[in-house]
Amino acid sequence: MNVALMNQALMSPALMAQALNPGAAPVATPFFFYMLAGAAILSGLFVITRRNAVHSALALIVTLLSVSGLYLMLYAPFVAGVQIIVYAGGIMVLFLFVIMLVSIERVTKERQFNRIWPVGLLASCALLALFVSAFSKGKDLFPERRMALVETSNTQQIGALLYGEAARMGQYTFAFEIASLLLLVAILGAVIMTKRKI
């Protein structure tokens, strides 16, 4: 008895029906997409407009969690988990610690936007217009039908791409090692820069 048959035996009838017919009634409905996208964009707006940096950090956490929900809708559970663990759990704690270390009271009473903010806003609007024109002109280039990704073996396949034998599967093994070196250099740099005396 192979593993697939055993998995099928363990599945409930509804789950098995969905596995046999993947197109039937997906859980990821358009309602969830619009809710998550709206939450991401609204809290992204909060990030760049709040006076207090702690409020910005909390809004950024909401954005990160919403984007992680969008990853789940795109059949990327591993990236969604990494997003929650590394971003919302690691990087945001780092941000909150730094906000705690630098004094925030004086900054909140000052001007929040720099003197040339209209220029920056204009440049951003030009960028937005570029995106809008590119997407409206090129929307027919995207294929209508999207490929199905196997959600249950997602992590396994990413692991094979990262660690597998270089000749067959693991095209990213070298890049993975370089990434670990990058993290080491970043840790050393952060420690050396924050030390008072070297």
Binding site: I41, Q112, R115, W117, L161, A175, A186, M193
Partner: protein, 102 residues
Amino acid sequence: MVPITTLHYLVVAAALFVLGVIGVLTRRNVVIILMSIELILNAVNLNLVAFSRMWGNLHGQVFAVFIVVDAAAEAAVGLGILIAFFRNKETINVDEINLLKW
């Protein structure tokens, strides 16, 4: 309701990207500028994962994981620079950072 296509995700990512660019270009607080950079990196990640779904292979998701690594490194170094600067000048406003100006 129309089904959700790749383009929907790209539009959300473009909106997040523009919000991040606005934050970088207009804010004075360095902490919030670094947070805006995180917004930009998230928009790029969303694009990569959406394209990964579109083509049905996992290369986009692997790249997204690498970008998360880069974001962690960038946040650590950026916040380290920020703390070192705050110790010298008692400010975190980016337009008062002019030590290298002649």
